[in-house]
């Protein structure tokens, strides 16, 4: 089976950082069990940016929170394996996980307006990240905070470190969050919709910053977003999620030039671009399913224009249809996909 990605033979691949296998997250609620993430597997290597795309509620954020151990264990059922540097993060104790969190795996969140504590100075919040894992005097931690703020492009970092978050603009706050994430030179940076709350011009700067940080520190980046444009600009590989499941997974150029799953087609066709007029946008009909009672078979089948006999009853496995293709979870035969893909390409060109 070819994945279209470099083969992950573990002995040889010392650049492999994260190996997620069969990650499943369930939230028991009074109304039933929310099947937030089902059987998600992927790998992340050093120097790689993995784009995770999907609509709201597709499980992309939840899978990352599960990896970070930020879901309330008492109210969540998590299974699968998350292998990081030879350890399974899902079986680590709370204390052991805390030494990984913020040190080896750091996270940047969506809304920089809400993610910084309003009552502490920005510098103090970054310095706190330093002292959380390192026993250094306060002045050293503060100096490190200033140095990092300067590094991520905050002007006059020495004085701005003494500011409170409300004195920062949105872009500056997100820079501060990135600075906080970089405190211990982590191996993995998880960015959960890092640009969604920001102006377009600022978005580009933040993406650029994340890219430069990735190259400089040789780390792996997981970039969660619903903005395909963001992924197209920065990701090396892309995972398309729907209703808590992986629909398509492969190298970014493969996904964008030869998408294989009808859901990915739908996503791409509903993406505005400069070349495309607004009336040429094709929305995906219907709305995402409830995760309390996800559809049988392929979760996308109720909205899929190409569904046929097995789709409603049998779940398609995530496989590569042939040696040249990447992974997808769809029952459509390969020649049919090629045919539909060609039609789509023509329509886009026209």
């Amino acid at each position: 089976m070819s994945t279209g990605l470099p083969e992950p033979t573990r002995e040889r691949d010392d650049r492999l950082l994260l190996d997620v296998r069969g990650l499943t997250v369930r939230f028991p609620t009074p109304d039933g069990v929310v099947q937030a993430v089902s059987d998600v597997s992927f790998q992340l290597r050093r120097g790689e940016t993995l784009g995770v795309v999907g609509e709201s509620g597709s499980g992309k954020s939840v899978s990352n929170l599960a990896i970070m151990g930020l879901l309330n264990r008492a109210r969540t059922v998590i299974s699968g394996e998350v292998e990081f540097k030879g350890r399974d993060l899902l079986t680590l104790s709370t204390d052991a996980l805390r030494t990984v969190r913020g040190k080896e795996i750091a996270m940047v969140f969506q809304d920089p307006f809400a993610c910084l504590h309003p009552m502490y100075r920005v510098g103090a919040q970054i310095a706190e990240a330093v002292t959380a894992h390192e026993d250094v005097p306060r002045e050293r931690a503060w100096a490190r905070a200033v140095e990092l703020l300067d590094h991520v492009g905050i002007p006059n970092a020495t004085s701005r470190a003494r500011d409170y978050p409300h004195q920062f603009s949105g872009g500056m706050r997100q820079r501060a969050m990135i600075a906080m994430a970089l405190v211990h030179n982590p191996d993995i940076l998880i960015c959960d919709e890092p640009t969604t709350a920001l102006d377009v011009t600022v978005q580009a700067q933040i993406l650029e910053l994340i890219e430069s940080v990735k190259r400089e520190f040789d780390i792996g980046v997981i970039l969660v977003t619903h903005d395909l444009g963001v992924v197209a600009e920065t990701a090396n590989s892309v995972m398309v999620m729907y209703a808590g499941r992986v629909m398509e997974y492969g190298p970014a150029n493969g996904i964008f030039s030869r998408p294989q799953h009808p859901y990915a087609w739908g996503l791409l066709d509903s993406m505005p671009s400069v070349e495309r007029r607004l009336d040429a946008l094709v929305p995906i009909e219907g709305s995402p399913p409830s995760l309390l009672t996800p559809p049988s078979g392929c979760p996308f089948h109720p909205r899929c224009p190409y569904r046929f006999e097995p789709c409603a009853t049998e779940r398609p496995p995530l496989e590569a249809p042939n040696a040249d293709a990447h992974l997808d979870a769809c029952w459509l035969p390969w020649d049919k996909k090629v045919q539909l893909g060609l039609q789509r390409a023509k329509k886009v060109a026209a």
């Binding site: 970070m68 930020l70 709370t94 805390r98 030494t99 990984v100 969190r101 913020g102 040190k103 750091a106 996270m107 969140f109 809304d111 809400a114 993610c115 910084l116 504590h117 309003p118 009552m119 502490y120 919040q125 706190e128 990240a129 959380a132 894992h133 409170y164 409300h166 969050m177 906080m180």
Partner: protein, 321 residues
């Protein structure tokens, strides 16, 4: 920051002035009858009455009277500062009467406040952290008990159990800390607990709810993502943000008790300010009531000022508002 404090300070002075005005009207202009009659003794002659009126300044126009009243309040009268006049009943100084009772009430409030603040917040935090466990239910059960129990009943029960039956604490009455420190504590401990119970219950519930709300905030997730210990996440990041409404309530509660701890004072026979005010109201000795009212009002205004200033230290966003 200085401007902020100055602005608050000016407002406090304005409020105190208004309180003096209202107190004057309510206690010295609205009551029917000539106040001079109360001072002049039984069936005075017109000459005696005129003499008393002159002595009290009642022959002057109202604005002169009010001016003197306010002037005395701010600068003091023959009995010292603040000038509150003298009582109808004995002609003694209202100021000395209030000042002799004030320590009892202030000690009562201070001890109870310390108790309820720490126990209330601690119970609230534990309850929030152990949400939906037995601990939480027990704590909230205590809160319900504290809120719904009448103070007079609780006070009497306390006296009965811990003084009469067990003999662990002193009974009713007040012992000044100067004469006997141990006697003071032994007599104050039951009133402190009784008064603190009600408030601790409120504070526990408020802390729990605020903290639970705060713990859902994104910056708490950030704190956890940094790898901070859960203890630090809750006590430093969570509690700090939940503190603002508690500080407000604390300031107000303390101020309101200056004249409002009547029931506790009565049950334990402490004879503090509230007790003094009620007794004087019953005997229509209005200058004393007016004095207590003004003292309580000034306490409210001052606590408001302190709370506002504390706010600026707790929440940096206030400083720039």
């Amino acid at each position: 920051m200085i401007f902020y404090i100055a602005r608050r300070l000016i407002w406090t002075i304005v409020v105190v002035l208004c309180v003096i005005g209202i107190t004057y009207v309510v206690f010295f202009k609205l009551p029917a009858g000539n106040p001079a009659l109360r001072f002049a003794g039984k069936s005075p002659t017109p000459q005696e009455l005129a003499q008393v009126e002159h002595r009290l300044g009642l022959d002057k126009p109202w604005y002169v009277q009010f001016g003197r009243f306010a002037y005395h309040f701010f600068t003091g009268d023959q009995y010292g500062w603040p000038g509150l006049g003298y009582t109808y009943a004995s002609g003694a100084s209202v100021k000395s009467l209030i000042f002799s009772r004030a320590p009892r009430t202030l000690f009562l409030i201070a001890g109870a406040a310390v108790l309820w603040l720490f126990s209330g917040v601690a119970i609230g935090v534990i309850s929030a952290v152990r949400r939906r466990t037995v601990t939480d239910r027990v704590a909230m059960g205590f809160a319900l008990f504290g809120i719904s129990t009448p103070v007079f009943w609780l006070g009497l029960m306390m006296l009965y159990i811990f003084w009469r039956q067990l003999g662990w604490a002193g009974g009713a009455g007040y012992v000044s800390p100067a004469s006997s420190p141990t006697g003071f504590f032994s007599h104050m401990i039951l009133p402190w607990i009784t008064l603190a119970m009600l408030y601790a219950a409120f504070y526990a519930r408020m802390t729990r709810n605020n903290l639970l709300e705060t713990l859902g905030e994104d910056y708490i997730r950030t704190a956890r993502a940094k790898g901070l210990s859960e203890r630090r996440v809750i006590l430093k990041h969570g509690l700090r943000a939940s503190l603002t409404p508690i500080v407000t309530m604390f300031g107000m509660d303390i101020a309101l008790l200056v004249g409002g701890a009547v029931i506790t004072e009565s049950v334990f026979n402490l004879q503090g300010l509230g007790y003094l005010a009620i007794n004087s109201a019953l005997t229509q000795d209005l200058p004393i009531v007016a004095g207590v009212v003004m003292l309580a009002a000034v306490a409210v205004a001052l606590m408001n000022l302190i709370v506002d200033i504390l706010y600026a230290f707790i929440d940096p966003r206030v400083r720039y508002a």
